[in-house]
C-alpha cells in the first residue's frame, strides 16, 4: 500500500505532498524533512529503496527534484519505482511542452 507521495526539491522544500493515511499536520513537516534528508544522503550508485522506520521509501530523482513514495512492506518496490516514472510521463503528456523540455535536459 502507498502511504504518501512527495515531491521535494534539493533544498528540502516540499513541492507537492499527498497522504493516503492520515498524518497529523505538524508531524508531516517533520516526516518530510527526515525523508528528504534520507534521500539526499544517498549517492547515485546506491539503490533507490530505503528502509525507513517500519516502512519503505522509494525515490527517483528528476534534476533537482525528488519524488518519494512511502510504501508498506507488502509492496513491490520496483513496481512503485516505475509508477513514479509513469506519473512523470503522464504529467509530460498533460502539459506537453514544459515537462518534456525538462526531461530532455536530464
Amino acid at each position: 500500500m502507498i502511504k504518501f507521495f512527495l515531491m521535494v526539491n534539493k533544498q528540502g522544500q516540499t513541492r507537492l505532498s499527498r497522504y493516503y493515511e492520515h498524518v497529523e499536520i505538524n508531524k508531516r513537516t517533520m516526516l518530510e524533512a527526515e525523508v528528504i534528508k534520507n534521500c539526499l544522503s544517498r549517492s547515485k550508485d546506491e539503490c533507490s529503496f530505503i528502509e525507513y522506520k517500519d516502512f519503505k521509501l522509494v525515490y527517483r530523482q528528476y534534476a533537482a527534484l525528488f519524488i518519494v513514495v512511502g510504501i508498506d512492506q507488502t509492496e513491490n518496490e520496483m513496481a512503485v519505482y516505475e509508477l513514479i516514472h509513469n506519473f512523470v510521463e503522464v504529467l509530460d503528456k498533460y502539459f506537453s511542452r514544459v515537462v518534456s523540455e525538462t526531461l530532455n535536459l536530464l
Binding site: C47, Y52, D54, M78
Partner: protein, 1150 residues
C-alpha cells in the same frame, strides 16, 4: 530547468481552479498564462523566491490571515471561495494548518456549481480524515449527488466516498452505490467498485451481502472495472483464501489475456501490457495456490507464459518477474518453474544494476527457506553484498543470512549483525536487528560464554530501545533453566561473573535495561560464585544507586537485588549504610524500599522465608476471588454500604439516566441485576496466572522448531567441510580452503574483525581467499548431510537452550482431568443411557468423547486456575459439570422447529442393500442430529465417507473408511492437517492396523472452532499399504453454523449478560414480503441458525446462541418499516460479524 518542472507541478491545483467551466481538461494553455493570472501562481512564485524557512512562515501566516478574513466574510462569492480554497490547500500542503477553512470546503461542495463543487470535494478529501466530526456534514451532499442525473456529479460523489467517508454512515449511501454497479457508464461502475472497496476496508461486515455483485464486476466487459474489483478480491483472499478457490480459473484466464496483449494499448506501459494489473493478479494467484496442489495445477501454464513474456530488459518487467518468482515459490512447487525462477533470481543478484541486486536479494530471502541450495549457488555474491558500501543492501543481506542461520554458522552471522549494528544509528533498524540477534543467540548458542557475551553486546548496543521482550525472555531463560541442572548452574555462574567484571569498570554508562538485567541476575544468583564476597557485590550495587544516570525504575530493580542479597548474608555494613542513606531520600519509592529492608533485616528468619533462593519460577497461588475480603465486604454491606458495581455497569447506568428516551433494550432489568450483583457477581481483575504465561511462550518456541525445509531433489554442493569451490575458481592448485572453526570467530571481543586462518599456496588473490573463507563459515551446515534441515529436526536435537516445556505439565494435568471424567462417566453410564448396548466399543468411545470435551476448554486461564484447586474439589466440580451436560443434551435440540436431518430408520437399510459399502452411522449416533453421509474421496481400493454429527458440546466428524478390494488393507492412516481455525480434540490422526476385505471402519474426531470464520476448509489425507504406499487427499468444509448451538436463558439473564458484553455489531437488513412480521423473521432465524428464542416483546425480539464450547452471542431484533434491525453482542469480537453474515444469508434466501 528544475524550477520549470516545479512550476508545472505547482500549477496543477492552479489549473483546477482557473478553468472556465466548459474548457476541456487538456485544453489549458501554457502554464505561464495560468500562473501569471492566478493568485495561487503569485503565491507560489513568492514562496519559491524566498530563501529561509522563517520568511516562508511569515509569508504564509500573512496569507492565511487574509484568507481567513475573506472566507468568513458574508459577501464572498462561491467563485472567490473556490479560489481561496485552492490557496488553502496549498498552504496546508506546506504544513500550515488552516482548519478555519474546513467548514467552507464542505459548504462549497454543497452549494457550488460543477467546478466549485469539484474543488470543494477535493479540499474536503485533503483536509479531513476518517474520524473528523465535520465529515458527517458531507453525507447529505454525497447522497444528493449520488442521485443526480448529471454524471459528473455522480462521479465526484463516488470519488469522495472512495477516499474518505464516515464508517457509521455507510448504510445511508450503500444502496445507492450498489445500484451504480449496474450503471451503463463504465467509469461510474468503476468508481462504485472503488467506493465499495473502501467500505470493505473500513467495515467489512457491511458489504458481505454484495459479494455476488463483486463477481459481476470481475467479469465486467470493461477492463477498468475488472481491475478495480481485483483490489477487493486481493483483500478478501488475503483474509480467507479457501472461499475463493472457484475463481482461480477466472483469474488465470484474465492474466492470460493481459499477458497475451488482449487489452487495449491504453493499458500498456513501455509496451508491457498493464504491468501493475499483472502484479496484482500474480499476488492473488499466489495466495490461492498456497498449500493447494489442485489449485496450483491450474496456474502453472500462465506463470510459465508470464515468465517468458517478461524477458525484455526493462525495470517494469523486472517487477513482474519478481512477483512471478514469489508466486512460484508460494504455490505448490513445480520443478520446471522453480528452475526458471531460480535462473531469474540469479540474473537479478548478479546484475550490476543496484536496484535489481536489491530485488534479487529480496527474492532470495523469500525463497531461501524452501531452497537453501540457491544460497549456496550465490554465496560469493552474498559475501560481496555483505561488504557493500550501500547500507540498505547490507541490511537486506543480513536479513537473508538470518534466514539461513543454523548451529554451525551462528557465530559468524551474529558477528556480522553486531558489526552492522555498531554503524547503524536508525532506531528501527537497531530494534529489528537486536531482536533477531537475541532470537538466534537463544536458539543456536554454541557455548554458555558465547551466549552471555552476545547478550551483553545486545543489551549494550541495543540500549534502551530494545523491545522489553528481550530482557524478559533472557531472564526467563536463565530462571527456568534447561533439562540439565549442571548447564543451568554453569550459565548462571558465568552470567554473574561477566556482570561483575563489567561493573568493575567503574564509570562506564550502561543502558537502563542492561542494568536491570544485571541487578536481577546478581540478586538471584550471586551465591553461585563462591569466591566473591557478597559485600563486594553490595558495594557495587550501592555505588550504582548513587549514580545520577540511573533512573528510579532501575533503582527499584537494584534495591530488589540488594534485598535478596541481604537476606542471605548476616549483618552487612553496606546494607546498614544504604538504609541510613535512603531513609532520607527524596524519592519516595526508594525510601519505602529502605524502610522495608530495614524491617526485614530486623527479622532474618522471616526474610529468609520470604525470599528463598532460586524460587523465581515457583508459581504463586493467588486468591483471585479475593475471598479473604468477604468478611470485610459483608460488614460494609451490613452497615448499609452500597453493593459494588463493576465499571461497565456503572457507566451503562449513568448513560441510561442521562438519556431522555431509553434506546437500550431491556433497560428495566437493571434493577434486578443491580440487586443481585452484590458480592457474588464480583470477578477480580487480578485473576492472572503465571502458568498460562509461560506455557504460551513455550508453545511458541515449539512452533518455530517445526519449520522444516523441503529439501528433496537438492543437489549437495556442500559437504561438512564447508565451501567447495567451483571449477573455475580452482584453476591453479586444487587447494582446499580450510574450514575456520567457529570458535576462532567467537564474538567475545565484539570489536575485533573475524580472524581468518592464513591460506597456503593459493593462486587466488588475498581478497578472494578471505571471501571464500568467510563463505565457508557462513554457509556451514547448509546442504551438508548432517544438517539436511536448516531450521527443522536437526536443530531441535542440537539446539542448546531447550526450555523446559511447561505445556507438557499442563497436558498431563488435563489428561488426568479427563481420566477422572471418564471414570465418572462410566459410573453414570448405565443410569443415563437408554440406548441398548450392541456395539460396546464404539458406544463407550462415543460417550467418553462427549464427556471429554468440557475440561479441554480453550480458556487457559480458567484451566490453570482449576489445576491449582485440590483434586477432590475438582472431581466434584467435574461431576457437576457432567450431570449438567447430560441433562442439557436432551433439551438442546428440543425446539421442535429446528431442521435437522433425521433419516427414517429404513433409509440406511435400503441403501445398504444396493451397495454394501455405503456406510451408515452407528446406532447411538443415529439418534443425534447429523448430516447426510457424503463421499470424500476414493481410489480403486478405498473410499472415504463423512458424516457430521452435531452433539451438544462439539462437532463430531465421523469418517468411514471402506475397503473396496477383496483383500485386507493394512496400516491405513488418516491424518487431518492442523489449521488455525479448528482444533481437533485429542489427536489429529487415526490408525486402522487392518481393514478386512469389503468392510467399513470408522473413526470420529471431535472438533472445535478456534478462530471464528464463516467457513473454512479442513484438509487431510489418508495413506494405506496396498501393493505400494498410496496417499489420498481430501478436504471438508466446516461452517460457523456447525459450531453454533442454541443457548437457553431467561429474559432476565439475557438482560444481565447483555450489559456485560462489549463487542457489538449493528446492521439493518431488508425483510422480504413473506417474513413481514417479526415472529416470522425470528422463526427463520431460529430454524435455520439454531438460535434460541428468548422472548418477544412488542416489535422487539431477543435470541441467544453460543459458539462451542461456551462463547455466548446475544441478538436483539427490532422491526421498523420493513427493515429488521439486528444488534449482536458477544465477548468474542469476530463472532457477531460471522453470525450477522449468516443472518443476512438466511434472510435473503427465505
Amino acid at each position: 530547468m528544475s524550477d520549470v518542472v516545479e512550476r508545472t507541478l505547482s500549477a496543477l491545483p492552479g489549473l483546477l481552479g482557473q478553468h472556465d467551466p466548459g474548457a476541456g481538461p487538456g485544453g489549458a494553455g501554457g502554464p505561464g498564462r495560468v500562473s501569471a493570472s492566478s493568485r495561487l501562481g503569485s503565491l507560489i512564485r513568492s514562496i519559491t523566491a524566498l530563501t529561509s524557512k522563517h520568511e516562508e512562515e511569515k509569508l504564509i501566516q500573512q496569507e492565511l490571515t487574509s484568507l481567513k478574513a475573506t472566507v468568513s466574510a458574508p459577501t464572498t462569492t462561491l467563485r472567490l471561495m473556490k479560489e481561496c480554497m485552492v490557496r488553502l490547500i496549498y498552504c496546508e500542503m506546506l504544513g500550515y494548518e488552516s482548519s478555519f477553512g474546513y467548514i467552507h470546503a464542505i459548504k462549497l461542495a454543497q452549494q457550488g456549481n460543477l467546478l466549485e463543487k469539484r474543488v470543494g470535494y477535493l479540499a474536503v478529501s485533503l483536509f479531513l480524515h476518517e474520524n473528523h466530526e465535520l465529515l458527517l456534514l458531507l453525507v447529505n451532499t454525497v447522497v444528493k449527488d449520488l442521485q443526480s442525473t448529471n454524471l459528473v456529479e455522480v462521479c465526484m460523489a463516488l470519488t469522495v466516498v472512495s477516499q474518505i467517508f464516515p464508517r457509521e454512515m455507510i448504510p445511508a449511501v450503500l444502496p445507492l452505490i450498489e445500484d451504480k454497479l449496474q450503471h451503463s457508464k463504465e467509469i461510474i461502475r468503476r468508481k462504485a467498485v472503488q467506493a465499495l472497496y473502501k467500505f470493505y476496508l473500513i467495515a467489512p461486515n457491511q458489504v458481505q451481502h454484495i459479494h455476488d455483485k463483486f463477481r459481476k464486476a470481475l467479469c465486467d466487459r470493461d477492463a477498468g472495472v475488472m481491475a478495480a474489483s481485483l483490489h477487493i478480491y486481493l483483500q478478501m483472499i488475503k483474509e480467507n483464501s479457501s472461499g475463493y478457490k472457484d475463481l482461480t480459473s477466472s483469474f488465470v484466464t484474465i492474466l492470460k489475456q493481459v499477458v497475451g496483449g488482449k487489452l487495449s494499448a491504453d493499458f500498456n506501459y513501455h509496451s508491457v501490457p498493464a504491468p501493475w494489473l499483472q502484479i496484482q493478479l500474480l499476488r492473488i494467484l499466489g495466495l490461492l495456490g498456497k498449500d493447494d496442489p489442485r489449485t496450483s495445477e491450474l496456474m502453472y501454464d500462465v506463470l510459465d507464459e508470464s515468465l517468458r513474456r517478461a524477458e525484455i530488459n526493462h525495470n517494469i518487467t523486472y517487477a513482474i518477474l519478481f512477483e512471478c518468482v514469489q508466486t512460484i515459490y508460494t504455490i505448490c512447487p513445480k520443478s520446471e518453474l522453480l528452475e526458471k525462477a531460480a535462473k531469474c533470481i540469479g540474473k537479478f543478484v548478479l546484475s550490476p544494476k543496484i536496484n535489481l541486486k536489491y530485488l534479487g536479494l529480496k527474492a532470495l530471502t523469500y525463497v531461501i527457506q524452501q531452497d537453501p541450495n540457491l544460497a549456496l549457488q550465490h554465496q560469493m555474491t552474498i559475501i560481496e553484498c555483505l561488504d557493500h558500501p550501500d547500507p540498505i543492501i547490507k541490511r537486506e543481506t543480513l536479513e537473508l543470512l538470518y534466514r539461513i542461520t543454523n548451529g554451525q554458522n551462528v557465530v559468524v552471522i551474529v558477528q556480522k549483525m553486531l558489526d552492522y549494528l555498531k554503524e547503524s544509528k536508525e532506531e528501527y533498524a537497531i530494534i529489528d536487528l537486536v531482536g533477531k540477534i537475541a532470537e538466534l543467540a537463544e536458539k543456536y548458542a554454541p557455548t554458555n560464554e558465547w551466549f552471555i557475551q552476545t547478550m551483553n553486546a545486545v543489551f549494550s548496543v541495543g540500549g534502551d530501545v530494545v523491545h522489553s521482550d528481550i530482557p524478559n525472555n533472557f531472564l526467563r531463560l536463565l530462571a527456568e533453566g534447561f533439562d540439565d541442572a549442571e548447564e543451568d548452574h554453569q550459565l548462571r555462574m558465568y552470567a554473574v561473573q561477566s556482570y561483575l567484571a563489567l561493573l568493575e569498570e567503574g564509570d562506564k554508562l550502561y543502558p537502563q535495561k542492561f542494568l536491570q538485567v544485571m541487578s536481577w541476575v546478581l540478586g538471584e544468583y550471586f551465591s553461585l560464585v563462591p569466591d566473591v564476597d557478597p559485600e563486594v557485590i553490595l558495594t557495587k550495587l550501592h555505588s550504582l544507586l548513587k549514580k545520577t544516570f540511573v533512573t528510579s525504575e532501575t533503582k527499584a530493580w537494584i534495591m530488589a537485588a540488594v534485598t535478596k542479597i541481604a537476606s542471605h548474608t548476616s549483618c552487612s555494613k553496606t546494607v546498614d549504610e544504604l538504609i541510613q542513606e535512603l531513609s532520607s531520600s527524596l524519592d519516595t519509592c526508594l525510601r519505602q524500599y529502605a524502610f522495608e529492608l530495614k524491617h526485614l533485616c530486623e527479622d532474618k528468619a522471616l526474610m529468609k522465608n520470604l525470599l528463598p533462593f532460586d524460587a523465581s519460577c515457583t508459581d504463586l497461588v493467588v486468591d483471585a476471588s479475593l475471598s479473604f475480603l468477604d468478611g470485610f465486604v459483608a460488614e460494609g454491606l451490613g452497615h448499609g454500604a452500597a453493593p459494588y458495581k463493576p465499571h461497565h455497569q456503572r457507566q451503562e447506568e449513568k448513560l441510561s439516566q442521562e438519556k431522555a428516551l431509553n434506546f437500550e433494550p431491556y433497560g428495566l432489568s437493571f434493577a434486578s441485576s443491580v440487586s443481585s450483583s452484590g458480592v457474588t457477581g464480583r470477578q477480580s481483575p487480578t485473576g492472572l496466572s503465571f502458568g498460562s504465561d509461560t506455557s504460551g511462550n513455550s508453545a511458541e518456541t515449539g512452533h518455530k522448531e517445526t519449520n522444516s525445509l523441503k529439501l528433496e531433489g537438492v543437489r549437495k554442493l556442500w559437504g561438512k567441510e564447508g565451501y567447495l569451490p567451483k571449477k573455475e575458481n580452482k584453476t591453479g592448485k586444487g587447494n582446499e580452503p580450510q574450514t575456520v572453526p567457529c570458535g576462532s570467530l567467537l564474538a567475545g571481543q565484539v570489536g575485533e574483525p573475524p580472524a581468518l586462518q592464513p591460506d597456503q599456496g593459493a593462486s587466488l588473490s588475498e581478497e578472494d581467499k578471505e571471501k571464500q573463507q568467510l563463505a565457508s563459515t557462513l554457509f556451514l551446515g547448509l546442504g551438508s548431510s548432517a544438517g539436511v534441515s536448516l531450521m527443522g529436526k536437526a536443530d531441535t536435537a542440537t539446539q542448546k537452550f531447550k526450555r523446559k516445556s511447561k505445556i507438557n505439565e499442563t497436558q498431563q494435568l488435563s489428561e488426568e482431568a479427563s481420566d477422572l471424567q471418564n471414570s465418572a462417566a462410566s459410573d453414570f453410564g448405565p443410569l443415563l443411557d437408554t440406548v441398548p448396548i450392541n456395539m460396546e466399543d464404539s458406544e463407550g468411545s462415543v460417550h467418553t468423547r462427549l464427556r471429554k470435551a468440557p475440561p479441554c476448554s480453550s480458556d487457559t486461564v480458567e484451566d490453570n486456575l482449576a489445576f491449582e484447586t485440590p483434586q477432590s474439589l475438582r472431581k466434584s466440580m467435574l461431576d457437576d459439570r457432567l450431570s449438567a451436560n447430560r441433562l442439557s443434551q436432551s433439551s438442546l435440540f428440543a425446539d421442535s422447529n429446528i431442521e435437522i436431518f433425521q433419516p427414517s430408520p429404513s433409509a440406511p437399510c435400503e441403501s445398504a442393500s444396493e451397495t454394501p459399502l455405503v456406510p451408515s452411522l452407528p446406532e447411538e449416533l443415529e439418534e443425534l442430529p447429523h448430516s447426510e453421509v457424503v463421499g470424500l474421496c476414493q481410489s480403486d481400493a478405498l473410499a472415504l465417507h463423512l458424516c457430521k454429527v452435531w452433539t451438544d458440546d462439539s462437532l463430531l466428524l465421523i469418517v468411514f473408511v471402506s475397503n473396496k478390494t477383496t483383500s485386507a488393507l493394512c496400516a491405513v492412516n488418516l491424518v487431518f492437517e492442523e489449521t488455525e481455525h479448528f482444533q481437533i480434540l485429542e489427536s489429529a490422526t487415526s490408525q486402522f492396523p487392518v481393514i478386512e476385505a469389503q468392510s467399513v471402519e470408522h473413526c470420529q474426531k471431535g472438533m472445535r472452532m478456534n478462530k471464528v470464520c464463516t467457513q473454512a476448509i479442513l484438509s487431510g489425507s489418508v495413506g494405506y499399504q496396498a501393493e505400494m504406499e498410496t496417499h489420498l487427499e481430501f478436504s471438508v468444509t466446516l461452517s460457523l453454523m456447525d459450531f453454533i448451538r442454541p443457548m437457553e436463558m431467561t429474559t432476565e439473564d439475557f438482560g444481565k449478560l447483555w450489559l456485560s458484553l462489549s463487542n457489538d455489531v449493528k446492521q439493518n437488513i431488508k425483510m422480504s414480503s413473506c417474513q413481514d412480521s417479526l415472529s416470522a423473521a425470528l422463526d427463520t432465524l431460529q430454524q435455520k441458525l439454531k438460535l434460541h428464542r428468548v422472548d418477544i416483546i412488542g416489535n422487539e425480539g431477543i435470541l441467544a446462541c453460543q459458539l462451542l464450547p461456551s462463547v455466548p452471542c446475544l441478538l436483539h431484533c427490532r422491526t421498523h418499516s420493513g427493515m429488521l434491525a439486528l444488534w449482536f453482542r458477544s465477548p468474542c469480537a469476530a463472532l457477531p460479524d460471522g453470525l450477522l453474515y449468516q443472518c443476512q444469508k438466511v434472510m435473503e434466501e427465505s
